[in-house]
């Protein structure tokens, strides 16, 4: 029997993969993919918890919303990456330290 715990473990694994990509990758696109993974982990959780929701399909609806939002975020993110590339001629985040004091 597959319980909610299994879903949560899988989702945590996906989330950690995403987190790792966000923190460690030296390419902005890979970071964006990492963010996508983390969102997907969250979506998986929505769907899994949706089973215990009293109102029907609440979780699925939220998941759909999140997917749409993620798509929009990816579009904006890619645009930013493009702009950054034009400005710095690089998309390695290590080389972009304008936030420093």
């Amino acid at each position: 029997m597959i319980s909610i715990t299994h879903f949560l473990i899988v989702s945590a694994c996906i989330f950690c993969c995403g987190l790792y990509a966000v923190l460690a990758k030296r390419n902005a696109i890979m970071i964006l993919i990492g963010i996508e993974l983390m969102i997907n982990a969250a979506i998986l959780n929505f769907v899994a918890f949706g089973r215990y929701d009293k109102s029907n399909y609440g979780g699925q609806i939220f998941a759909l919303f999140a997917i749409v939002l993620a798509a929009a975020a990816v579009a904006v993110g890619l645009a930013i990456i493009l702009a950054v590339y034009r400005h710095y001629k690089t998309i390695n985040p290590d080389n972009i330290t304008d936030l420093r004091d």
Partner: protein
């Protein structure tokens, strides 16, 4: 005259004090222009006349007068200033005037041509103001103020030639050592204030005053502390062991200054203070005073024996005589102390002025021959009697007085002290006898060193080769007249109608002190005779050594045969046996002299000289070295505390600042502008939070 001018003694004494102050202000505002010194001279002259004609006759042997003026109020206590005129204060004031006038006149010639002479007169007037004010102060706070002002004036005058390093070192030393005494004085004042709640001398010590009401236990430790505090003040000012070391150095000042300040007036202020406050002292303090006085008298007389600097001999002599006065106070005979203070002021001042004249002449030789001699060194002098006979006579009179020969003033006052001290010792018994015996020894030593000074200076031949003989001459009249005046003051009739008995002296009558001990009549004959005889012997030895050059230290022998042959020729017409007996007597005398007296005397004297050298060495390398050691130590402490301040205390402050800065720096690294790092940190913090929540 007081009635004539309708001036009360109080007003007159205020004028006496203020006139030199006005002279000081005028001189100071005129600056370099006032070189003649007329203003100062006129001021002190009028002071002298007022003091002698109005103040003294109006007060002497009459009830004391005083006036009090409110000065300021602290809280509810009012501090006053006031004029106190009684026998003691008017006498002291007159003595100061009496000495200051001749010194002023003398200075006109002595300081002539000095580039800083305007300054000299300014400082001298300041000193006279402070000293005259000191004498008549009614309030201890006021007395303290003048007490320190005389020290300040003395500082200025010792360092008068401020380009000389020795002078500036000496005046600093003098001031700081006097400061030690001032602290004692201040503590004494604080003690009295907390005991009596007032600092008015009359309110404390006057008839029916707080002291006589017996509200204070005289034996209490606070009273002892007060007494020792005041004595510490007097010790520094009156150059008592071990605070005497500033006085020999103070001789760097002009000689006229030494004669006024460091011989006659300021150094006597300590004796004056103790006499004023005499009833306050309990037996412990008095004994301490007597012991310190004895040590000082003996030690300084020893040091004087082998000094070569004419002014240093006189300086040590002053210290020694001040020791006498302290002993007199310690045994309760403060009238004798004041008597000796008065007579000493005259003859010591005269000795200094004479020494100044001698130094003046030696300087003439120095300038003429361009020699590098020390004009103050006794070893260079000799035979000056021929060139300056009047100075010689005057100085001899003064030295007779110092040595205590009959017919002089010194004879009377010294006898007064020594006889009283014997009587005191008999009354106390036991070990107390040491003090009068030491005083007699000091008296012998005194006669010796002053004889040596006179003989070395005026007898024999000049000990340096010079072509300036023709330039040597008697001191100018402006210098001689003051000395002549002081010379008269060295004779007995100025102080007592009888040349041998001090009991008739009006000064002693004026104080009418009741002694704690009874009179011993036999002493009044034995002591003067002993003292005179020993003084004569001392002079005789000094004469033989320093004039006839039979100094035992030099191996020189008189050929007795030659001498006696010459004597035979002289006595040719006298019957042979008489001559023969004379020769035999002379020979016997000589042998007796040579082997018995000379031998023993020489042994004593050699021993004395040796101990003198040792003592002098001790003074330089131990007592003075302790002072220097203390000053070095305080410099060390100062350097250490500066180091401590810089590296420990400030270091601590800086360390705190550095630590804060370091932590700031550490945290700053977090802000590196990399988004991923920011996220990482955020995640770390979240994780820490989660772990905390789990473990809680």
């Amino acid at each position: 005259m007081g009635e004539l001018l309708h001036i009360s003694p109080i007003l007159a004494s205020i004028l006496v004090m203020l006139l030199p102050l006005f002279a000081f202000i005028i001189q100071a505002s005129l600056g370099e222009k006032a070189t003649s010194g007329n203003i100062s001279l006129i001021a002190i002259l009028i002071s002298f006349i007022l003091s002698a004609t109005i103040v003294l006759p109006g007060i002497w042997n009459k009830p004391p007068q005083y006036n009090t003026y409110d000065w300021f109020t602290i809280g509810t206590k009012t501090f006053t200033i006031g004029i106190l005129l009684n026998n003691l204060t008017v006498l002291m004031q007159l003595v100061v005037c009496l000495i200051a006038v001749p010194v002023h006149i003398y200075s006109r010639a002595y300081m002539k041509g000095d580039p800083g002479i305007a300054r000299y007169w300014t400082f001298l007037s300041l000193f006279c103001f402070a000293m005259l004010g000191l004498t008549i102060s009614k309030n201890l706070l006021m007395l303290y103020i003048f007490w320190e002002l005389v020290g300040f004036a003395s500082y200025l005058l010792i360092g008068f030639w401020y380009t000389r390093d020795a002078a500036t070192a000496a005046n600093k030393k003098a001031f700081i050592i006097n400061r030690v005494g001032d602290i004692g004085f201040l503590i004494g004042i604080a003690c009295l204030y907390s005991l009596f709640g007032t600092l008015d001398i009359i309110e404390i010590l006057g008839e029916g005053g707080l002291f006589s009401q017996g509200i204070v236990d005289q034996q209490s430790s606070l009273m002892t502390l007060a007494g020792l505090g005041f004595f510490l003040g007097a010790m520094a000012k009156s150059a008592q062991f071990p605070l005497h070391i500033w006085l020999p150095d103070a001789m760097e000042g002009p000689t006229s200054v030494s004669s006024l300040i460091h011989a006659a007036t300021m150094v006597a202020a300590g004796v004056f203070l103790l006499s004023t406050l005499f009833p306050l002292f309990n037996d412990t303090v008095l004994l301490f005073i007597a012991i310190i006085g004895t040590i000082t008298a003996l030690m300084a007389a020893y040091f004087a024996l082998e000094q070569h600097d004419i002014k240093k001999v006189l300086a040590y002599s002053t210290i020694s005589q001040l020791g006498y006065m302290m002993v007199a106070i310690g045994i309760g005979a403060w009238d004798a102390a004041m008597f000796h203070l008065t007579t000493h002021a005259f003859f010591k001042c005269l000795l200094f002025l004479g020494a100044g004249a001698v130094i003046h002449e030696m300087n003439t030789i120095k300038k003429h021959d361009c020699q590098t001699i020390d004009p103050q060194d006794l070893r260079n002098m000799g035979g000056l009697r021929k060139y300056m006979p009047k100075t010689f006579i005057l100085m001899s009179i003064a030295s007779f007085a110092l040595a205590g020969f009959p017919l002089t003033s010194g004879f009377l006052s010294k006898d007064a002290i020594i006889i009283s001290s014997f009587e005191w010792a008999i009354h106390q018994g036991g070990l107390y006898h040491i003090i009068p015996i030491v005083l007699v020894v000091v008296s012998i030593l005194t006669a010796f060193y002053i004889g040596r000074l006179i003989f070395k200076t005026f007898f024999g031949e000049l000990r340096i080769n010079t072509t300036a003989n023709s330039l040597l001459h008697e001191a100018p009249k402006t210098m001689l007249w003051p000395m002549f005046f002081l010379g008269i003051g060295c004779l007995f009739f100025c102080f007592s109608p009888s040349p041998i008995s001090y009991h008739l002296a009006p000064i002693l009558d004026g104080f009418s002190v009741t002694y704690s001990f009874s009179e011993v009549h036999s002493l009044h004959i034995i002591i003067p005779v002993t003292l005179t005889l020993t003084a004569l012997i001392s002079w005789w030895i000094a004469y033989r050594w320093y004039v006839l050059d039979q100094h035992p230290v030099h191996s020189y022998n008189l050929d007795i045969e030659q001498n006696s042959n010459r004597k035979v020729a002289v006595f040719d017409f006298i019957p042979y046996h008489l001559a023969n007996s004379l020769i035999i007597f002379s020979r016997w005398n000589y042998h007796f002299d040579k082997y018995i007296i000379d031998g023993s005397v020489n042994a004593i004297v050699k021993f004395t000289l040796r101990t003198s050298q040792i003592a002098s060495w001790i003074d330089t390398y131990i007592v003075d070295a302790i002072v220097i050691g203390i000053s070095n130590l305080s410099k060390r402490i100062a350097n250490f505390s500066a180091w401590f301040d810089k590296y420990i205390i400030d270091g601590l402050v800086n360390t705190i600042a550095q630590t804060t800065y370091y932590f700031g720096h550490l945290l700053r690294w977090v802000q590196n502008g990399r988004l991923q790092n920011y996220l990482g940190f955020a995640l770390t913090m979240v994780l820490i939070g989660i772990i905390y929540l789990i473990l809680r």
